[in-house]
Symmetry: D2
Subunit: 344 residues, 4 copies
Amino acid sequence: MFFASDNGGPVHPQVMQALAEANAGYAMPYGKDALMDEVRSRLRDVFEAPEAAVYLVATGTGANVLALATLAQPFQRIYCAPTAHIEHDECNAPEFYTGGGKLHLVGDSHKMTPDALRAAMAGTPTDVHAAQRGPVSITQVTEMGGVYCLDHLRALTGVAQEFGQTVHLDGARFANAMVSLGCTAAEMTWKSGVDAVSFGGTKNGLMGVEAVIFFDPAVAWEFELRRKRGAHLFSKHRYLSAQMAGYLRDDLWVTMARQANASCARLVDGLRAAGGEIVAEPEANLVFARLPRHLHQRLRGAGAVYYLNGPEEGDPDEMVQARFVCDWSIGENGLDDFLTFLNG
Amino acid sequence: MFFASDNGGPVHPQVMQALAEANAGYAMPYGKDALMDEVRSRLRDVFEAPEAAVYLVATGTGANVLALATLAQPFQRIYCAPTAHIEHDECNAPEFYTGGGKLHLVGDSHKMTPDALRAAMAGTPTDVHAAQRGPVSITQVTEMGGVYCLDHLRALTGVAQEFGQTVHLDGARFANAMVSLGCTAAEMTWKSGVDAVSFGGTKNGLMGVEAVIFFDPAVAWEFELRRKRGAHLFSKHRYLSAQMAGYLRDDLWVTMARQANASCARLVDGLRAAGGEIVAEPEANLVFARLPRHLHQRLRGAGAVYYLNGPEEGDPDEMVQARFVCDWSIGENGLDDFLTFLNG
Amino acid sequence: MFFASDNGGPVHPQVMQALAEANAGYAMPYGKDALMDEVRSRLRDVFEAPEAAVYLVATGTGANVLALATLAQPFQRIYCAPTAHIEHDECNAPEFYTGGGKLHLVGDSHKMTPDALRAAMAGTPTDVHAAQRGPVSITQVTEMGGVYCLDHLRALTGVAQEFGQTVHLDGARFANAMVSLGCTAAEMTWKSGVDAVSFGGTKNGLMGVEAVIFFDPAVAWEFELRRKRGAHLFSKHRYLSAQMAGYLRDDLWVTMARQANASCARLVDGLRAAGGEIVAEPEANLVFARLPRHLHQRLRGAGAVYYLNGPEEGDPDEMVQARFVCDWSIGENGLDDFLTFLNG
Amino acid sequence: MFFASDNGGPVHPQVMQALAEANAGYAMPYGKDALMDEVRSRLRDVFEAPEAAVYLVATGTGANVLALATLAQPFQRIYCAPTAHIEHDECNAPEFYTGGGKLHLVGDSHKMTPDALRAAMAGTPTDVHAAQRGPVSITQVTEMGGVYCLDHLRALTGVAQEFGQTVHLDGARFANAMVSLGCTAAEMTWKSGVDAVSFGGTKNGLMGVEAVIFFDPAVAWEFELRRKRGAHLFSKHRYLSAQMAGYLRDDLWVTMARQANASCARLVDGLRAAGGEIVAEPEANLVFARLPRHLHQRLRGAGAVYYLNGPEEGDPDEMVQARFVCDWSIGENGLDDFLTFLNG
């Protein structure tokens, strides 16, 4: 009954199998392994982008900040939602990697609105005293569990283009969003005006691999140098490649995201049935819900693991807010038990 | 017949097994996994340092630069051998992570001498115009395949102490050096005056895990923050822990290093028998040798893989220099064939 | 009729005289000049702080960011008002100098409230994922022309102390604030819990000199190194010293600030008499006022110079907002003319 | 008798006069002053470069590192002589401003040779592991008092061009070199292949002003942002402009350099006559000489000020090495006395 995050669950057997197979014999290091050729080819196919520059790193923060450092100058600002992972959960890594760039929080919603983004960008002074306009970073799935629809994405990237700026998509939960929208990877990215993507794998069944994809390969070499300088180039790269290859084969990544989203939908129904109030409409695989504390205490007592915003102890009838995240595996590993406890 | 590097070989089955076992169920992320408790405990035992701060990262460059950024200020210099990995093979990562520190190359040998180090440190101006004295970084095994003996290490750390500076050991091939010296991990580190260690695993049979160990735990929290800010904190940390646990159990890491060093000794004998000239006495698992080009061409033709310093084509009798590295596995996977070709 | 800023006016003759006198013969460079001894001694007297570390730099941004870089770690955040100069007018210099620190904007007022500061600091997560708590930077005079009273300052520094953090005072208009409060320099700083001060001179009659003062001299050497590394150590330092010495002699700095504040008070009266609406109570030497556009157009036509927030052209009766700043000299150089135009 | 540096002498009266004149009334800040228009125009004339981007900063280190940060990427290296000011006297400012670039010391002479530069650039690996090739920085006058002739400069810039890299000239003593060569400013820069210049004023009679000139104005805006972000944009910019204007009017800068060089030539003759041995041929306004210690002690006793490399006390007949620098003013302020003492 583990809902603390989608980074707590196991790696899918197909990925473990790919790792085991990759472990035979010798391979050239640093991304020159043959499996990386497969990965590159598969991701270009997935994104319908035969020229795209494709790289692997091992952490989501690494993917985000290396992509942003390639897109942004140190005297610029990066526009993002006030709840963005790059603002709250990366310990100044974006500021570090950009050489001292600034995050500019847009509006007050976990989904940036085009109007708020336009106001932020238009309101950025262009004289030499102010941090200059720079790229926009969109988190898809948002940290509150929402998914930008394609029209929304296009509206945001359109604003960025009005101001001559590029767009990064933080897709730590890329697959969950895509499945939620029922669209293609291309539609959710370059066809909607996105320039660079953090294509997450870790939260969706891998050990620790994310792809970074640039649709304009002109920045490829700079990215490679920044990755190496950031100490994120793996010598035994084949083990990253193998994970990503296993992830992409037979659309496993889509299947796992479907499972996670479906589990979340069941969880949401269960929470509602038990008197929980849903905070922000869950559109992928995570949900914030408000529960009476006595219910929370019962769930904890039964061994359920998730994040609580607020004190454990207090008035049993007070509503407390909790976050639940479903990974690909939870549907077969505790969700039923949890739902039983919840409504039992 | 792969001798290009010790980062090209397979992961040891015992490590693969540890990964498979770690893959059951759910685990707390970001280093709070139970396996990390085992790793911490085992490494503290190995180093006879019950208070040591112990962390895992996934790349050797990451281990080095995070350790150095914790030890050095941005207005300081880091003393190292002119052949050091941090100077040649990390694409300015040390300068990046230290916020603009400077590497000060000491002497002209792959092994720093105490005299050269003292001269460098004594000759560093202490006025405000110059980059200030900072930590010393020693590469053990050196990039030329040499191993500092304990007396040599103590002499170097003694010089650092004379000037009030700390010492980092780049132990990407820690195990190979320790086995070569026949000493303990403690003797090769804190008992010889070392403050922080990059304890390599990747080049010795892991997928990609290095430990960073500080014998003074006062810097532990700063290191954790720098690791996170560098995007080197893994969410699914248990897969790093599992590798390192598998590495440490039953002294596998020592066994693998012994195998690698023994293979290298056989290789050196073979190269000598075939007319090769050994460049710098090999003391661990890598060797630079000069061969007649015709011999090199024959080896290449047979499928051997290693680095050549110089042109492939030319006078067949000219001597060309090559680097050969043996990993733990090569003894059962091509060394015999190679020796047969070499002397056949 | 120049009200665009207090950085547009002339240098006081007493300062020019000090520069001329300093120009005789030879002097040791880099702050070892005898005039710096006078400056150090005078500033320690002014601040009643005989142990204080005292340095000169040439720009206000330089003073701020060097002070903050000495107080903050790169993985921390700096708390400041949303209107702070360090946020809006320093083009990411704080992020650059701190090595990638983050500015945390507190509340929604140009004067931070203790409650808002406490909420911001208490709400800062302390886990490894978030940028950590760091120093507080208070702008005195605020960018909106307000002055924190001593009780307010003490309340803010008290909050910082609750969380174990230091306090920086951006005193680009230090003298104007002090004169406004009728207090001493010591009362407005260390007696109120401030640790480091940017003591402005440029906006108050100097060419370009600011002092940076640390009441705890333990950080002095680090500051010196950071100043040099930032390229802010002057070789012909005596010309900085001479300006600051001239500024401090006979309390010229206080006299000039009184003149500036008095001019502003007259200006405020004049603006009100002419139908202007004052935005935020002016407490020192700058004022934001709303005027009918036709009045603005008449003033501009007469040659008055100041910043307008909004379009020059439009409905003549629409109220437009403008900023007026008085320096020490304006009282004798255009203020009367302006007031005549204003009310004529 | 001050020969410690050319940063210890007075500012020329013509410059003081220009400052006094600039002090009338009000001026727009941040480089929008009318005097900057004059400076820009005059420097474009001096350099025969009507499109050049021209900026002022207040320190020589600031000029160098802002120019280099504009030319270099953080994953690159900057090639310079082993005696370069940027290596020895800027406390890691180049590393800081470039975001962690690396200085690559070329050869073992204070004048880089084309062969040594070509060897360094050709020997720089181009794979992702190594810091990449970047700009070349040439110090003219060298730190040892030498001057590169135009053929030498062209040969060096030719090597840079072979590798597609730009060239920066550290001209802290630009005028002294130009006068020594008897060439024009254009010939010593863009006509010889230089892309960016630190055009020194401080060591040649100003308080503290250097120009940075880019012959390709495409980088102008980036430079402006980097200057602001480095806290090197002056609000009361007219006082920088006034100094530089006073410097350029009537070729004062050339006159002063001639005076300094002529004084140095007299000094060299005097040192030789007194038994001093000249170290490296002095070609501008500084000289390293070896003297018997007893002579040194007599000079010190008479009040002469200069740098000694080595201990003050010891065998009176031992030769000790000293550096003497002549500024524009020393010819009328102590040189005669010194020569009298020297040979008396």
